[in-house]
């Protein structure tokens, strides 16, 4: 908290700390996002939306993971991703997700790839960066789950081709929702910051 900086306009600038360290704030964020992941998995129509497509359901469970890695760095994303893997492993009905390798590894990787995507574009444009992070995170999930499923012989080529349209829609939806969440959260934090007295009282806007 202490090393966050607030410009005079009250705009939020992210804290400068190593992305690979675990602060109190990061632990709590990972915990809350993991709680969200667990919760979403068990509420009907929220975590897994039943759809009449070959995959049977679209997931929104990767959203907390991507939000975690965009806001607090790869470690938070990867820890939340572990919980995503855990819930999908525990509620799995098919052999595909009863394989721990397929349940956990792609989901942990979401945290890493979406953070890399965000960090690459962060300097240029935070909105575009969070949209890209959403799309990349969702694509990581699809590509690695399907790829590992194919490599380990659970899926066939025909099935994978059938899933591609849904994967594209999921990636676009993730990009939109992640941008909404990240940008509105930063707006809220910026507003919180404005209430702090970072400059002399008589120059404050209120």
């Amino acid at each position: 908290m202490s090393n966050e900086t607030f410009s005079p306009q009250g705009k939020f600038t992210p804290p400068k700390e190593s992305p690979w360290s675990l602060s109190t704030r990061r632990i709590v964020t990972a915990g809350v996002l993991a709680g969200l992941t667990i919760l979403m998995a068990y509420i009907p129509f929220v975590g897994y939306i039943p759809l009449p497509t070959p995959a049977g359901a679209a997931t929104t469970e990767h959203l907390p993971v991507i939000v975690g890695s965009v806001l607090e760095g790869p470690l938070v994303g990867m820890i939340t991703g572990f919980f995503f893997g855990l819930t999908s492993f525990l509620r799995a009905g098919s052999a595909l997700f009863k394989d721990p390798l397929i349940a956990f590894l792609p989901r942990i990787l979401i945290g890493l790839t979406s953070w890399l995507a965000f960090a690459a574009l962060q300097r240029a444009n935070r909105t575009a960066a969070s949209a890209l992070a959403g799309a990349v995170g969702s694509a990581t999930n699809t590509v690695f789950v399907l790829g590992l499923g194919f490599l380990r012989g659970y899926l066939t080529w025909g099935f994978i081709v059938l899933i591609i349209p849904q994967a594209v829609v999921e990636a676009i939806a993730a990009a939109i929702v992640i941008t909404l969440i990240v940008r509105s959260y930063e707006a809220v934090r910026g507003r919180l910051a404005r209430a702090r007295e970072t400059r002399p009282r008589d120059t404050l806007p209120y």
Binding site: M1, S21, L22, S23, T24, R25, I27, V28, T29, A30, G31, V32, L33, A34, G35, L36, I38, L39, I43, P44, F45, V46, I49, L51, A58, T60, L63, P64, V67, L71, I79, F83, A173, V177, L180, I181, S184, Y185, V188, R189, L192
Partner: protein
């Protein structure tokens, strides 16, 4: 969807000073792990009966009202009954033709299917019971302390054990809070005329984002509050060279060793019975 929290008593802690509550959390977790491992392995009725006896014994030790525990399991068991019907109807094996009772298309009811599904579901009920009993007799803080003490050797490998346990604790603590939040949000959105679970996929996703985005916002705002509160109380994580001490240190008593020996014996007995018994 709205009344979720009223049906879930899972994960609540009842401090009634019974022997189970007073057991060292490390001993409880170890016993839990080995008994659960044994219960997942067994499949025959003889060992399941022994398991039932053991559960009754634990229930007596815990001095919890039986009605309360069963009420918490009511929803789970009704869900399991529906699952049971499906399991029986879609059961397939090469030897079931001999015991078929009723057959229509792909649906078959056979004695073999019924017996197999009963065994599987009894096992699941025992597992659920053991887990809920562990949660009912151990506070979350104790559970976290015990897990941290047991996982301490992993620190040698460079794993941040304390931090990961903390994440678990926060996640479990936040689930009920977030459930009430979801209820509040879905009521608020329903008042505004949003319909959930209807319409085409696009409409469904739009209705959902009205819940998901505010849910994330309130969760992240709670992060802000909680982490400030923790840091105000001098909580430091991931800080090399600090050794955290505990307000309540764990003590390993003779009864803990006794519990551990008893559950190890029980596991051996369960597995032996499962190997010997014919059905």
């Amino acid at each position: 969807m709205i009344e979720i929290s009223r049906h879930i008593s899972f994960g609540q802690y009842v401090d009634n000073g019974s022997r189970l509550t007073r057991l060292d959390p490390r001993a409880k977790i170890l016993c839990f792990v080995i008994v659960v491992a044994a219960v997942t392995y067994i499949s025959h009725f003889a060992s399941l009966a022994l398991c039932l006896l053991f559960c009754l014994f634990l229930q007596w030790l815990s001095r919890l009202p039986l009605r309360y525990v069963l009420q918490g399991m009511r929803m789970f068991i009704s869900f399991l009954l529906i699952l049971f019907a499906f399991q029986v109807l879609f059961y397939t094996s090469s030897t079931q033709a001999a015991s078929t009772i009723w057959h229509w298309g792909v649906l078959t009811v056979s004695w073999e299917g019924i017996i197999h599904s009963t065994q599987v579901d009894l096992r699941v009920i025992f597992l659920y019971y053991l887990t809920s009993l562990l949660m009912l007799t151990t506070s979350l803080v104790d559970l976290a302390d015990g897990a941290e003490a047991l996982l301490r050797p992993l620190r040698r490998l460079g794993l941040p054990v304390h931090e990961l346990v903390m994440v678990f604790v926060v996640a479990l603590k936040f689930v009920p809070l977030l459930i009430t939040e979801v209820e509040r949000l879905s009521i608020a959105q329903a008042t505004r005329g949003v319909r959930f679970g209807r319409g085409n996929p696009l409409q469904r996703i739009r209705a959902l984002s009205g819940i998901i985005v505010p849910l994330f916002m309130s969760g992240l705002q709670r992060v802000e509050m909680l982490s400030t509160a923790m840091e105000a109380r001098c909580y430091r994580a991931g800080y090399r060279g600090w050794r955290r001490s505990k307000l309540r240190a764990l003590h390993w008593n003779r009864s803990d060793s006794l519990a551990l020996v008893c559950s190890a014996l029980l596991c051996a007995l369960l597995i032996a019975l499962n190997l010997v018994s014919p059905f």
